[in-house]
């Protein structure tokens, strides 16, 4: 997981320490080397200068000497010249005048002097250091200004220079030891401070990444990390010592609060509710906010029957209203629980199954549901399908099947009801029960309804081109009534395909008309002005009041199949159907019976005065091309 990126690098401190120590060693090495070189260069230079002065003095003396003997006496050990020079080291001199040369040596052997002379060109003047059999000698040579024949060479052992360098080296060693020590201190302190600071920043970042800014609860990332660590640990363990439970909590009516009172109220509620929940839960349970109004509780090491116990205080916490800016607000929670490893051994599976359970809890208004694999098999698909609606729309995976509406006496097809099927590339043909509700609760509802309308209108045109005049009924969702541009869209589609409005029938279920009578009336009026037919679907099972039916000016009412199916056996159902048929007749609405599955039912309905029916007895919903064949066969069937 990318959480790794935020974990503190344990080698940071040692790396930093190594880097600063290396720098300290490097700096002190450079310091020692440079200091030593400067000191030794200075020492050598001053020694050479002294030798040059000495040889210059010697040369001057040589010029003054008139004879060799005079020269010898000048340079003799007993002579005072050398003593006056106060040279403490062993030295040797070579002096040559017009006639001969004299070598004087004090400690430096004659052979050494000769060797030096041999190494140097006889005419060489100046000064320098020379290596001879492992020893270093300092030399200086000069030619007299007055007598070009006079040549003086000064050779000296470097012992004073060595002493000087030793002296420098000693001090430098001690100083560099101290410097290095201080540098180590500096390195330690610096690396310590830097590491501490980085660690602090990293901790702050890690906290931010693993916690929700609003409620200060752990975030989805944090709880997932904990879960995956637990799952990893539990892998291979057979007993239930590693059982866990994941509870998915979703607030009910939260969207309404956000929409009506504003997000600040919603945020305040989230804060308050998370505080209550946190207080209600033992610290061993992780409560995290995973999305807008979605929370998660993860508990490791739990006995299988304990989710209800965890959920109880959470539900209880929602029973008291929340006070926000002086207003008391009620918020309910729906909880879905899934157990690890029984209901899934990956985070994804647990989340998905807890979500399914939560969805059930919402539907049943039961507040808490455990995931059960035997739940509606479509439910699991539903979660997957929700993500595939856009693609299905663009790839035209939704197909329309048509069920004929038939005149009960003549068996003549008077129209068709368009019913949507999802021709899913993986799941095969899916019936609307599995997906309509999920589309209705998504943002795709308008696009979806337009898709269906457009395809139905197009089909009317295709059939007309084939010589069939069939009106098609399309079911609209209650939410479509809120789509202000729906009428304009229908008009545009009718114009586009050249279809007359009365060929299109719009069916709305009772619940659809219940949204708000004003809105419904206005939309129905606009549909009516357009010229399309209107019918009320599933009449009798919703909560419509009769005044609604009076006010809505319908063309047709479809009697719900639940009454029709049992009419033969249940006198109550028969009485209801009879009454509804009378009502339709008295109000002037056409009545259509749904769920006509047998000849007996068709006959009974005809006797009761119902003119039209729809059901498996006549035909199941079928694809458009099959519908054409069905239409063509109808006259034969009637005669049969």
């Amino acid at each position: 997981m990318d959480a790794q990126a935020l974990q503190i690098d344990p080698r940071l401190r040692s790396h930093l320490l190594l880097a600063t120590l290396s720098l300290a060693i490097f700096v002190s090495t450079v310091f020692v080397v440079v200091a030593y070189r400067i000191a030794s260069d200075l020492g050598v230079n001053s020694e050479l200068k002294a030798a040059e002065i000495n040889v210059a003095l010697l040369s001057a003396q040589t010029d003054l000497a008139n004879s060799e003997s005079e020269l010898e006496s000048l340079l003799a050990p007993s002579g005072h010249y050398i003593e006056e020079l106060q040279v403490k080291e062993n030295i040797g001199v070579l002096v040559r005048n017009d006639t001969d040369f004299v070598v004087f040596s004090s400690g430096v052997s004659q052979s050494t002097i000769e060797a030096v002379t041999a190494l140097l060109d006889e005419e060489t003047t100046g000064s320098g250091l020379i290596e001879l059999e492992g020893e270093t000698y300092l030399w200086a040579a000069i030619k007299s200004h007055h007598n070009k024949q006079n040549y003086s060479l000064w050779v000296q052992e470097t012992s004073s220079l060595d002493t000087l360098l030793h002296y420098i080296a000693t001090r430098l060693t001690v100083t560099s030891f101290l410097t290095f020590w201080v540098a180590v201190w500096g390195a330690l302190i610096l690396s310590g401070i830097i590491t501490k600071r980085i660690e602090k920043h990293n901790e702050a970042l890690a906290y931010m990444a693993s916690h929700d800014y609003l409620t200060d609860l752990p975030s989805r990332r944090y709880v997932f990390e904990q879960m995956s660590a637990h799952i990893e640990k539990a892998r291979g363990a057979d007993d239930c010592s590693h059982c866990g439970a994941l509870l998915l909590l979703d607030l009910d009516q939260f969207k309404e609060i956000n929409d009506t009172l504003g997000h600040s109220y919603g945020d305040e509620i989230l804060k308050k509710i998370s505080r209550r929940w946190r207080d209600a839960l033992p610290s061993s349970h992780i409560l995290a906010r995973t999305g807008g109004d979605e929370f998660v509780v993860w508990t490791a090491n739990l006995k299988t029957d304990n989710a209800a116990k965890i959920a109880a205080p959470l539900i209880e916490a929602c029973e008291r209203p929340f006070e926000v800016s002086g207003m008391l607000l009620n918020v309910d929670v729906s909880i879905g629980a899934a157990y690890f490893p029984k209901d899934g051994d990956t985070i994804e599976e647990l989340m998905k199954n807890a979500d399914i359970a939560m969805y059930h809890a919402k539907r049943k208004r039961s507040r808490l549901e455990m995931y059960a694999a035997a739940d509606n098999p479509y439910t699991e698909i539903r979660v997957r399908l929700a993500g595939e609606v856009t693609q299905a729309l663009s790839e035209e995976q939704f197909v329309l099947h048509y069920q004929p509406k038939v005149h009960l006496q003549t068996c003549q097809v008077t129209g068709a009801e368009a019913l949507v099927r999802w021709n899913h590339p993986r799941e095969g043909l899916i019936y609307p029960g599995a997906f309509i509700e999920l589309i209705e609760h998504s943002d795709y509802i308008h696009a979806f309804s337009r898709y269906v309308l457009s395809h139905a209108i197009q089909q009317i045109q295709k059939w007309r081109d084939q010589g069939l005049e069939v009106s098609v009924a399309v079911n609209l969702s209650p939410y479509n009534l809120l789509d202000r541009s729906m009428t304009a869209f229908i008009r545009e589609q009718l114009d586009h395909y050249g279809v007359t409005p009365e060929m299109l029938e719009i069916e709305l279920t009772e619940t659809a008309t219940m949204i708000d009578i004003q809105t419904t009336q206005a939309v129905f009026k606009s549909f009516r002005e357009l010229g399309v037919k209107l019918s009320l679907d599933d009449f009798g099972v919703g909560m419509s009041s009769l005044s609604y039916i009076k006010n809505l000016e319908l063309d047709c009412i479809k009697l719900d199949r639940s009454f029709v199916l049992n009419m033969l056996s249940d006198p109550c159902d028969k009485a209801i159907v009879q009454t509804m048929l009378d009502l339709c007749a008295n109000l002037g609405y056409q009545a259509v019976a749904e769920g006509v599955e047998t000849q007996e039912l068709a006959d009974l309905l005809t006797n009761l005065g119902c003119a039209y029916g729809q059901g498996y007895f006549f035909a199941k919903p079928m694809p458009a091309d099959q519908f054409v064949r069905f239409m063509q066969d109808t006259p034969k069937r009637r005669s049969a």
């Binding site: 001090r171 001690v174 101290l178 020590w181 330690l188 302190i189 690396s191 401070i193 590491t195």
Partner: protein
Amino acid sequence: MKALKKNLSSLDRTLRGVIGVVVTGAGVFGGEYIGEPIVQAILIAFGVLNLISLATGWCVVYQIAHISTLKPPAEQS
């Protein structure tokens, strides 16, 4: 007494004891070799610091650098 919380392991303490004795000794008796009174004074100071670390088990530099060589580390995360 948070400031004087021990932060040296026994090995670290022993090492500091040896260094402290050697360095202090060098500072006190190695005047001729060192030849520089300032350096000599610094050496003695360093040596004494190490001897203090030996005695208390606490190092001021470790404290500032948030380092501890003691087994249950107080500062390390």
